[in-house]
């Protein structure tokens, strides 16, 4: 392991931490495809920045992308809130509209320049050691600094609103009755996901972020019984993906983000097979009943377990 490898693993680990703090809420609220949606919905933001300022510099591009990412998640939230459209359909309705807007914008105004997601917003984790900023005389990987800030923001959000987020995740109606504001909390969470996704896209690329938001959380869902444990395991699985994925990428000289994603997916498969509620455990115990989880079954999670 060289210093560069260490930087890459740490940047990936910070991505895993930022994503692992939010991912469990997305999985439990059935918004797993949100990051994927955001990764496409940012295109009109990039076109708009080009039209206004004729630039592809990272800061304005991230700002433009973030604006449309927030628009995308709030749009999804609004469609969902009508009660007429389910979460998955709301996601599938909003992001293609925004992506189409971006494609139209490129065809109409920017067909003579290379303006696409890959050359503007999507970063590459392999290059993070080469992009440094000097803070107080110390050279820091820029992606690491950005992601550390995102980790801290997410940490503040999740710790400060832990009880409220937990209650409204498991039972929005219960939350409303007890004076919480589920819509507001939902929007806050979605905006945090949008900001996290866009900053992380720019730092490490889209596929790693989409993976780290969902796969570790889905893995943790299978092996934990409380939300706190689920968040902790999600972050841990993300770090396993970061470390083992990088070793895998070095061994086979492959894409780093791809290898990390594959390791996370491997963790998920292991959890699926070896989970206390998985097929192996069921065979060993000789019973088919799915044990109680999160106070209810997987299709329809009930209220949260009482705090320990």
């Amino acid at each position: 392991m060289t210093a560069d490898d260490l930087t890459i693993v740490l940047v990936a680990g910070l991505t895993a931490t930022a994503c692992g703090l939010l991912g469990p809420f997305l999985v439990l609220r059935r918004l797993a495809l949100l990051a994927d949606a955001v990764s496409h919905a940012v295109l009109p933001g990039i076109v708009a920045v080009w039209l206004i300022a004729e630039t592809r510099a990272p800061v304005p591009v991230v700002a433009g992308a973030a604006a449309f990412a927030v628009l995308c998640v709030l749009g999804i939230d609004a469609v969902r809130a009508t009660g007429l459209v389910a979460s998955d359909a709301a996601i599938a309705l909003v992001f293609p509209a925004l992506f189409s807007l971006g494609v139209l914008g490129i065809t109409r105004y920017a067909s003579d320049i290379h303006l696409d997601l890959d050359s503007t917003i999507y970063g590459e984790i392999a290059f993070t050691p080469f992009d440094v900023v000097t803070i107080a005389g110390v050279d820091l990987a820029r992606a690491g600094v950005v992601l550390a800030v995102v980790v801290l923001l997410n940490l503040v959000l999740v710790t400060a609103l832990w009880k409220e987020l937990r209650a409204t995740t498991f039972d929005p109606h219960f939350g409303r009755v007890t004076g919480l504001r589920p819509r507001l909390l939902s929007r806050l969470l979605l905006v945090a996901v949008a900001i996290t996704a866009v900053s992380a896209f720019e730092a490490v690329g889209a596929i790693l972020v989409v993976t780290m938001l969902i796969v570790p959380a889905a893995t943790a869902f299978l092996v934990t019984r409380s939300l706190a444990a689920m968040v902790a395991v999600a972050v841990a699985v993300g770090w396993v993906g970061a470390v083992a994925g990088h070793v895998l990428a070095l061994t086979f000289d492959s894409s780093i983000a791809g290898a990390m994603g594959l390791v996370c997916t491997g963790c998920f498969v292991v959890a699926l097979v070896a989970s206390p509620r998985g097929p192996v455990a069921r065979l060993l115990r000789g019973r088919r009943r799915v044990p109680e989880f999160f106070g209810g079954d997987v299709e329809n999670p009930g209220p949260a377990p009482s705090p320990r």
Binding site: L10, A110, D131, L140, G144, A249
Partner: protein
């Protein structure tokens, strides 16, 4: 209390990561002998640059290209090995002018910390083409062989600056390469001039041949612009089909790095106008061919393109 302790641990973890990434960002490289006593390690982006460094550096350099044949420089995906190739390079050479997308910006910044140069730096800015609607120059400069000579000189200068003890080696290699390029330039000019004037129209799917057209006197029409992201509109296809049919240009060309559907649509639209054009062949655009084949070199790739264009557009066969 347990919950609080867990969060505190996470905060500490995050802070540790931040500090760790700081330390890690400092370059730690293995001891290296002075370059004069070993081969110069050069890392390049496109296959054309890789080939030119081979020619100019000869045995003095150990060249590794990040991008293989057939890779669109804009859509290049890095692998784990590429990190070391960049870090351990004595010299990094890239195309510049936006050719490498986001990676090009990174390399431009890296020049402050590590010997890194865009080979297009040596081209006079006035020689660059800018398309209407774009504030940035067209990066496909390598199809003008005279401009490639400028780039070869930049490569030789950078190698000589890094390894002055062998400057004369680079000079000699450069001179023989330049002689070859001058001959190639004349050859391409002659082949294109052999096309009947009315048919001197190069139709491709995306706009990569503007420099070629300017240098060798052939009009260039592309179905779509520079961007490979936006899809061609029906109006674009109709416009170019009209041009093909009225000028009675016998062929349109596909490119190694762009899907051929747009050209197929174009030929269908041309046929509707009662004129049958064919596909003239596959042109090398953003990368040379497989190493070891004649097209694996820059000169071979340009020669092959010129020959395809000339013969498909009705130039008489080469004498001899």
């Amino acid at each position: 209390m347990v919950g609080r302790r867990r969060w505190t641990a996470l905060v500490l973890l995050a802070v540790a990561c931040l500090l760790g990434s700081g330390c890690a960002a400092r370059t730690v490289t293995a001891d290296r002998a002075p370059v004069a006593e070993r081969q110069v390690r050069v890392t390049t982006t496109t296959t054309m640059i890789t080939d030119a460094v081979h020619r100019i550096g000869g045995d003095r350099v150990q060249v590794t290209g990040l991008m293989g044949p057939g890779v669109d420089p804009h859509l290049f995906k890095a692998s784990a090995r590429d990190v070391r190739l960049l870090r351990d390079a004595d010299l990094i050479l890239y195309g510049g002018l936006g050719l490498e997308g986001k990676m090009g910006d990174l390399l431009a910044d890296l020049a402050a910390r590590q010997p890194t140069a865009a080979v297009t730096d040596g081209i006079p800015r006035t020689a660059l083409l800018t398309h209407t609607g774009s504030p940035e120059p067209d990066p496909h400069v390598w199809f003008d062989v005279a401009l490639w000579e400028d780039q070869a000189r930049t490569i030789a200068d950078r190698l000589a600056a890094l390894d002055p003890r062998h400057a004369d080696v680079y000079r000699v290699n450069l001179d023989s390469y330049l002689a070859e390029l001058t001959a190639l330039d004349a050859e391409v000019r002659e082949r294109i001039a052999a096309i009947p004037p009315a048919q001197r129209l190069l139709v491709t799917s995306h706009d990569a041949f503007a420099y070629f057209g300017r240098r060798y006197g052939i009009e260039v029409a592309a179905i779509q612009g520079i961007s490979t992201a936006a899809e061609a509109t029906t109006a674009d296809v109709e416009r170019v089909a009209e041009l093909l049919a009225t000028r009675r240009v016998p062929a349109a060309f596909i490119e190694t790095s762009v899907p051929r559907q747009t050209v197929d649509a174009l030929l269908a639209a041309t046929a509707e106008r009662g004129f049958r054009a064919s596909i003239g062949g596959e042109l090398y655009t953003d990368s040379a061919g497989e190493p070891g084949t004649p097209e694996g070199t820059y000169t071979g790739m340009v020669r092959r393109n010129a020959e395809l264009i000339a013969s498909a557009l009705g130039a008489p066969g080469r004498e001899g």
